[in-house]
């Protein structure tokens, strides 16, 4: 793997564009610091970032999707392309929301870090080499530590950032340790060569087990799955809304996609390897246990929450469990289901966060009771909230329903020697009823109770209204016509 540096630039045009845009945004902000108003600085940095994202998206679209001329460690296929476009789309939503942010003094830094985190995610999407995996994971994580701490409007954000940092570095250590064990066991770092080592280590060795377990734990941090989920409630509660949205939507999609590839390509031979001599088992069981634990803990903890942000965080743990079904299905059907699900989950959770922000900026806080009477002052926004919450709960005809259904379907139809997958699906379906309970708690406040919001006419918030309405429309349309997305995904037939 030693292509020429110019060759590297050619391979990474979209990422390069984003890095340049990030640097220019940062530079412009530095240059004009003295005289400019914060509004002006924000519009310049934001404009440059949007321009960067759009040109990166164009560059991604112009790439040849057949992957010709790509080195082994960098993938480029139709699914990658789709994921990268979606990631850039999520980033654009984040940028749109950031228009409403106060951003304190750190305008240039914020946009710089958002774009750098996006570069990290794009690299995660394409990485098929363990070192690049680690590099891109760290790039994203480091940007997020700073982004969380930068939102000084929330006094607790420093605390949240520190927690995220501590858990993040522990998980990075786990990941790195796991990578070294996998390397030790197989002698390879890129996914396809690792998989090709299966003849040598067909029976799973304890060495490899340790590697897989450690990588899984590190991975759990990225997607907020048990046992590395503990950061989620604090971060969701303390981070500024655009950053929380970025973590909840884009970072999750990138993380899941990367690890889905690691498991189903790199570690594919060891999914079920059972050595009759030992009790060793493959990674299928590991992920099933992780999913079971996340399902129970996420849903049950969410019931008890009084803060809407924490509720979304715990429900994110449960949603991670659903998404794991897509990896466990271990085929193209599962991958398509996973991507569809993460797309619509990202939409719904972004919309929900936007409305939490609306409530917070009108005298409320993130408690669920703050939503009381929302429909009076903001009928349209309340309707959007209903669509987001019901989509998260999985009520048809919204996108969340089809997303879950497709995941369940992909999971049950994949061959599964353990037989546990069907029970996991059953448990997930049963837990959907629990999740309906806590999502309805929010809607009950917004629609059935009276509260601080009254029918007085106040200026609407154009940013939030635009974002919420377009996301709600997406959740509805994609739920009614999921084929629109499925046509773009690598689905069989």
């Amino acid at each position: 793997m030693d292509p020429h540096y110019l060759e590297l630039l050619r391979l990474l045009i979209p990422e390069t564009i984003l890095v340049v845009a990030a640097l220019v945004a940062l530079g412009c902000d530095l240059v004009q610091k003295a005289e400019a108003t914060p509004e002006r600085r924000k519009s310049i940095a934001l404009g440059l970032s949007v321009l960067g994202c759009l040109s990166a998206a164009a560059a991604v679209l112009l790439e040849r999707p057949d992957g010709a001329g790509m080195p082994q460690w960098l993938s480029s296929n139709a699914a990658d392309q789709w994921v990268r476009i979606t990631l850039i789309g999520f980033a654009l939503i984040v940028l749109a929301l950031s228009w409403k942010s106060a951003l304190t003094r750190h305008v240039g830094e914020t946009y710089f870090l958002v774009l750098v985190a996006l570069v990290g995610m794009l690299l995660m999407t394409r990485a098929e080499h363990l070192l690049l995996v680690f590099l891109s994971l760290e790039l994203v994580a480091l940007s997020f530590y700073l982004l969380i701490a930068l939102s000084k409007e929330h006094p607790q954000s420093a605390e949240g950032a520190l927690k995220y940092f501590l858990l993040g570095s522990v998980s990075a250590a786990f990941t790195l340790f796991g990578i070294s064990f996998i390397y030790g066991a197989t002698g390879a770092l890129d996914f396809s060569t690792i998989a090709a080592q299966s003849e040598r280590t067909a029976t799973i060795t304890p060495f490899l087990i340790v590697g897989i377990v450690f990588v899984t734990v590190g991975f759990g941090f990225k997607i907020a799955a048990v046992p590395m989920h503990a950061w989620a409630p604090d971060i969701y509660q303390t981070a500024a809304v655009p950053i929380a949205v970025f973590i909840a939507s884009a970072s999750k999609l990138a993380g899941f996609y990367l690890f889905a590839k690691l498991w189903t390509i790199g570690l594919a031979p060891w999914i079920d390897t059972v050595d009759p001599a030992s009790d060793a088992i493959g990674w299928r069981w590991l992920l099933i246990l992780l999913a079971f634990a996340s399902l129970l803990i996420g849903n049950l903890a969410a019931i008890a929450q009084s803060s809407c942000r924490r509720l979304l965080a715990w429900s994110a743990v449960a949603h991670a469990s659903h998404a794991l079904l897509g990896i466990l299905a271990n085929d193209t059907q599962g991958m398509a289901a996973l991507l569809y699900y993460l797309l619509v989950y990202g939409f719904a959770v972004t919309g929900a966060f936007a409305l939490i922000w609306l409530v917070e900026s009108h005298g409320g806080d993130d408690r669920i009771d703050s939503f009381a009477g929302l429909y009076r002052q903001f009928p349209l926004e309340a309707l959007c909230l209903m669509l987001f919450m019901l989509s998260l709960a999985g009520v048809p005809p919204l996108a969340g329903f089809f997303g879950k259904f497709y995941l369940f379907l992909a999971a049950v139809q994949s061959p599964d020697p353990t037989g546990a997958l069907f029970w996991l699906v059953t448990a997930s379906i049963a837990m959907s009823a629990v999740s309906l309970y806590y999502y309805l708690q929010v809607l009950k406040q917004a629609f059935a109770r009276e509260g601080q919001f009254t029918a007085t006419r106040i200026p609407k918030d154009p940013v939030i209204r635009t974002v919420a309405v377009s996301l709600a429309a997406a959740v509805f349309v994609l739920g009614c016509f999921p084929q629109l997305v499925l046509d773009m995904l690598p689905v069989p037939n």
Binding site: A336, Y375, L383, L390, V395, P396, P397, F401, F402, F405, Y406, F408, L409, V412, Q413, V425, T426, I429, A430, S432, A433, L436, Y437, L440, L443, K444, F447, A448, P482, Q483, L486, V491, P492, N493
Partner: protein, 493 residues
């Protein structure tokens, strides 16, 4: 006709939801027009089948091609009759909701969404589409009760939503298993019904799906959402809940588990018939001791739905025909009773407590209410000349052929029905005036035209069906032939 009923209802819901700042009467007018158009279409389709033996043309469009899911609407006699019931119940429900003043626009938007979903369930022949409509019917009910309800409305609404969601979760598990067992290619009910599932599969798939639907059908011991939900709901919603939503459950049982799993049905029918009998007696007994007038009707619904399930389990032509006839008959009578108790009496008097109603001397002061309740009550307890008599007679004759001892118990259930109806009737309307207890001075508002039309319409329908049951039976019998033919011999028990 098929898609028309659904589309008109949803279009009405959309019109109510999206047209802001019209007068209350305009929203009522929109809702009534949409419901009346739906009824007209349903009536035409029914008449066309009755007079010219023409089934409406099926609609079969590709929808989610990646999974072989189709937008597939089709109807037989049973669907058309239940569609007609939906039309009648929705028109009268809107007439009885004419006095809703609080948030009229949203009320009718939710109401019409519920109506559209109910038509959808009765007409879908693709199991996925069926599930979509089945779950879509859940959330409007929640909001109708939680916002416009009365006694313990939030509790009743949540209980109903969770019970329904658990039921549909069971259905979803059964649906995935069925899809998988049948070769993972289609959700088309017609194609699936040609597939013969293995007896072991049917043994567990039948009860899961059947129970899932039976939750909504109010089968004992899963009925407990029904009385609380009916009581908490506003009158119009109670009418749809008891009148149509409970039939969704029974219809689902008939259309899905009973059609696909004949051997499972054979294995479990005795147990389910036993539960139905317990429901008949228990519901009647519970209705006998209620103080709240609406609870009496709520428990009587549980009892009457027991006859539906008993009839379904007889697997004789007469018993099955009776079950479907009872679905229609109870739909009309429950709507009528809830309309009288909830709208005509409670909205004027302000109490449903039978002990307090005794003091009101309603027979003298409000003879219309007393007169129509006498008619409805006698019809409900099975007086010849009204629909319930024919239906329950059919069920009992069918039960006599299959489970003689249950027929005796069912006959006893009818006696209990007479007892609680007479008790409630006497206490609410015909108690002698007690000396020293003053008659409440509150004046009783005069009867309005919508109430009058709604009441007459429902009474006319139940009388016409009671006098000319062949109007329905001729259409029901072809629809139930497959069930009668399925088991070659009735098992001795």
């Amino acid at each position: 006709m098929l898609s028309g009923t659904i589309l008109i209802s949803f279009a009405g819901a959309l019109a109510c939801g999206c047209l802001p700042r019209l007068s209350a009467n305009a929203y009522r007018g929109i809702a009534l027009t949409a419901a009346a158009l739906g009824l007209t279409l349903a009536l035409f389709a029914y008449l066309e089948l009755l007079l010219q033996a023409n089934l409406p043309t099926a609609i079969q469009l590709p929808w989610i091609t990646a999974l072989g899911i189709e937008f597939h609407l089709r109807a037989d006699g049973i669907s058309l009759i239940l569609g007609l019931l939906t039309g009648i119940a929705s028109v009268t429900g809107i007439l009885f909701s004419w006095n809703i003043r609080h948030r009229v626009r949203e009320f009718f938007a939710f109401y019409l969404t519920l109506i559209g979903a109910m038509y959808g369930v009765f007409l879908s022949y693709d199991l996925f589409l069926f599930l979509v409509f089945f779950e879509l019917a859940i959330f409007p009910k929640y909001f109708l009760i939680a916002i416009w309800g009365s006694t313990r409305k939030e509790y009743g609404a949540m209980k109903l939503a969770l019970y329904s969601f658990v039921g549909s979760a069971l259905v979803l598990i059964g649906l995935l298993a069925t899809w998988l067992a049948a070769g993972a290619s289609t959700f088309n009910l017609l194609q699936l019904s040609e597939y013969s599932f293995s007896p072991e599969f049917q043994y567990w798939a039948f009860p899961i799906t059947f129970i899932g639907f039976a939750v909504l059908g109010g089968l004992w011991p899963l009925h407990s959402w029904a009385p609380t939900g009916h009581v908490a709901a506003p009158t119009g919603a109670s009418m749809l809940l008891a009148g149509v939503v409970m039939k969704l459950g029974a219809y689902g049982c008939l259309r899905f588990p009973m059609t696909l799993f004949p051997q499972g049905l054979e294995l479990w029918r005795f147990e389910i018939a036993a539960l139905a009998i317990v429901g008949i007696i228990y519901g009647g007994g519970a209705a006998l001791v209620q103080r709240d007038f609406k609870y009496v009707i709520g428990y009587s619904s549980v009892s009457h739905m027991g006859f539906v399930f008993l009839g379904l389990m007889t697997l004789t032509e007469i018993g099955l025909a009776g079950a479907v006839l009872q679905m229609f008959s109870h739909g009309i009578l429950a709507s009528l009773l809830f309309g009288i108790v909830g709208r005509i009496v409670y909205d004027r008097v302000g109490t449903r407590d039978l002990k307090e109603l005794e003091n009101w001397q309603l027979a003298q002061r409000f003879s219309f209410a007393a007169a129509v309740f006498v008619i409805a009550g006698f019809a409900n307890m099975g007086m010849p000349g009204f629909s319930a008599f024919i239906a329950e007679l059919h069920v009992l004759i069918g039960a006599w052929q299959s489970f003689p001892s249950f027929a005796v118990l069912g006959g006893f259930g009818i006696l209990v029905g007479a007892a609680y109806t007479v008790r409630a009737m006497v206490r609410a309307f015909f108690t002698e005036r007690k000396p020293y207890v003053p008659v409440p001075a509150k004046p009783i508002a005069p009867l309005t035209l919508p109430e009058r039309i709604g009441t007459y319409l429902l009474i006319a329908v139940t009388a016409v069906v009671g006098l000319f049951p062949d109007l329905l039976l001729n259409l029901i019998v072809p629809g139930i032939e497959p069930f009668v033919a399925a088991p070659p011999q009735t098992p001795g028990d």
